[in-house]
């Protein structure tokens, strides 16, 4: 078991190194520090100012080790990223790490309830649809899913804001207040939009999983020994379907920290998603590459966690 975890982690470290290399190619080799500096300061900035800016951001050295073994951007990039020293934003010179710390709270307060709520809504719904397989209820359910999947998330967001905010005048359309009393008021609408916009693909996915499991031989055995349909669904099918469901959920957990780009930016929640959008508008390369790096790091950890959690749900899995 320990050997397995170590091997798995070692591969994960390799992947993180690969990600860092790709990021370096994208953000240093393709978009050179000079380009970044000019984007931050404008085309008319005098060369001296560019140099000072590059110095402040640590970009004032050669790119590759073969240009200068001791002092180059590639090694510097690895060293800084691996030690979580993310430096300053290319756009407004604020320390990136502080902003990530500040954004994580609002992001998590949106994404954690969103994940839980999605599961709570989607799994029972898909169990019902799968229970009525090959009937009109099932066909109707699948049709509605495809319909719901075909609507762009943008339209869900705009539609919900329009419907609830403008026509019904219920909730604050956007904004954020982290005090416990106000939080539900500001989160209700984003949560509803988040759950509804993902519902179609979620229900369809879980339905497929449930149908897959309910066509297995052991379900026939359970029927032959006299178990009722609901007992079969909950006791046998759901228990086996937990394996693919778990994979999906555990893999989703790392991204909870990343926030939700669309929902946050639209509803004015000052999380990491909004931060990413701001970074795009402001050509803030250093923030963006930090976000990609953190996302990959979390994903790799999530994958190891998924592999380990298999062992909890599936007795067939042994770590060798």
């Amino acid at each position: 078991m320990a050997a397995y975890v170590i091997r798995r982690l070692a591969y994960g470290v390799g992947v993180v190194f690969g990600v860092l290399f790709l990021l370096f190619v994208l953000f240093f080799a393709v978009t050179e520090p000079d380009d970044i500096a000019r984007k931050a300061l404008g085309d008319k900035a005098p060369p001296e100012v560019l140099e000072i800016w590059k110095q402040n951001h640590g970009y004032d050295r050669p790119l590759w080790p073969w240009q200068d073994w001791g002092d180059n951007l590639l090694f510097d990039h690895y060293r800084k990223m691996l030690s979580f020293d993310f430096g300053l934003s290319d756009a407004d010179d604020s320390p990136i790490l502080d902003r990530i710390r500040a954004g994580m709270g609002p992001s998590l307060s949106l994404t954690v309830p969103l994940l839980v709520l999605s599961l709570v809504v989607a799994i029972p719904l898909s169990l019902v649809v799968a229970f009525f397989r090959e009937t009109y209820i099932d066909r109707m359910g699948v049709f509605l899913c495809v319909l719901a999947m075909s609507v762009s998330t943008l339209l869900y967001i705009i539609g919900a804001q329009f419907l609830i905010g403008k026509l019904l005048r219920w909730y604050p359309i956007s904004g954020f207040d982290s005090s416990l009393a106000m939080l539900p008021r500001f989160l209700a609408l984003p949560l509803i939009v988040g759950v509804v916009s993902g519902l179609g693909s979620d229900v369809r996915f879980y339905r497929t999983v449930f149908l897959e499991e309910s066509s297995r031989d052991f379900v026939r055995t359970a029927r032959a020994k006299g178990a009722g349909e609901s007992r079969i669904m909950l006791g046998h099918v759901l228990r086996n379907a937990m394996i693919p469901i778990l994979t999906r959920v555990v893999l989703a957990i790392p991204f909870l920290f990343m926030g939700s780009i669309l929902i946050e930016s639209f509803f004015g929640i000052p999380g990491l998603g909004s931060m990413t959008v701001d970074a795009i508008q402001a050509n803030d390369f250093s923030t963006l590459r930090t976000m990609v790096y953190i996302g990959s790091l979390l994903f790799v950890l999530g994958q190891v966690a998924t592999d380990l959690s298999y062992g909890l749900v599936d007795p067939r899995v042994r770590f060798e």
Binding site: A224, G226, D314, P315, R316
Partner: protein, 329 residues
């Protein structure tokens, strides 16, 4: 004395391209208490579907459309869903061909047997577990206490089938349906499982509907044999006369193609052609497309039942022709 199970004119169909396609078509037979009846036929002959029809477990979108299945005089096809559930596992149990996939992989095997008991009897978990342990010992599972907490993947195929048998017998059913119970097992294990089934059948007096394509197994276990071809019953007779003097040309062909009958080194005679698909069945006798003795009426009309001897029934124009007095009766 009336039989334990009386199946009459059973008809099960699946929706197909050109309307519903029958997979079981007008099948009738009886199963007496404590008797072993073997249902024999090639794959696709409808023998498994007959079994599923009895338990009303025909996979969707198939369904039983006609006939009756009487267990102790009560028609199972007319029961409510809940009442039928009390029959399954309680009065009729079933074991399957693939012990590997028929047990739930994420539930301990003891727990699966306990579930079967507690579905039908109001006993505590601990009592059900005690009974399961005893059952495991009875079906010859070594170290039953430890095996209770094993997961299916930790057991060999033979052990899994023993667990299935323990589960099936856990509620002392009157009847057991065994669908190719040894096909997926190693040859040595096959013999052990057959011996076990025979011993249990004798000690408990359970009637068994044994579904198989293996005439060797029939010879070891069965009291009577029913032969199916393309959804129809073609011949039913006690074991010895059926195996020694089969009447239906299909039964004859089936017996001839058994290795034990031929001499070593000689090619086995086989029945020419293949079982036609349900959509291509002839109007008359289903076997007429491959039958060596077919004549005019065979392709046009289905042969009536003839009774060439006590306890024997056969559906064949040729037999009818050769037994004029019988055919007239």
């Amino acid at each position: 004395m009336s039989a334990l199970l009386e199946v009459r004119d059973l008809r099960t169909v699946f929706p197909g391209e050109g309307g519903p396609t029958p997979v079981v078509d007008g099948v009738s037979f009886d199963l007496d208490r404590g008797e072993v009846l073997a249902l024999v036929g090639e794959s696709g002959s409808g023998k498994s579907m007959t079994a599923f029809s009895i338990l009303r477990l025909v996979p969707k979108p198939g369904r039983v459309v006609a006939g009756s299945v009487r267990l102790g005089g009560e028609d199972l096809l007319g029961l409510s869903v809940t009442a039928m559930r009390r029959v399954r596992g309680r009065r009729i149990s079933m074991i399957f061909q693939e012990p590997m996939t028929c047990l739930n992989p994420v539930v301990r095997v003891g727990e699966q047997v306990v579930e079967a008991i507690r579905l039908h009897e109001d006993v505590s978990r601990a009592d059900a577990r005690d009974r399961t342990r005893a059952l495991f010992a009875e079906v010859g599972i070594p170290d039953p206490e430890a095996r209770l907490d094993a997961y299916p993947h930790q057991l060999s195929g033979g052990l899994k089938q023993r667990v299935m048998i323990a589960m099936a017998l856990s509620t002392r059913p009157e009847m057991l349906i065994a669908d190719e119970p040894t096909t997926a097992l190693d040859v040595t294990v096959q013999a052990q499982i057959l011996t076990l089934l025979r011993e249990l059948q004798q000690s408990r007096g359970t009637a068994i509907l044994l579904i198989t394509h293996d005439l060797g197994i029939v010879n070891e276990l069965a009291d009577r044999v029913a032969v199916m071809y393309a959804g129809r019953l073609v011949e039913i007779a006690p074991r010895v006369p059926l195996l020694t003097e089969p009447l239906h040309p299909y039964t004859q062909g089936l017996l001839r193609s058994m290795p034990a009958r031929g001499r070593p080194g000689e090619p086995l005679p086989e029945i020419p052609g293949v079982v036609p698909r349900a959509s291509e069945w002839p109007r008359g006798c289903r076997f007429s497309t491959r039958c060596p003795v077919r004549f005019e009426p065979c392709a046009e009309t289905y042969p009536a039942e003839s009774h060439p001897a006590a306890g024997r029934r056969v559906f064949c124009h040729d037999v009818e022709r050769r037994l004029p007095s019988e055919g007239a009766r």
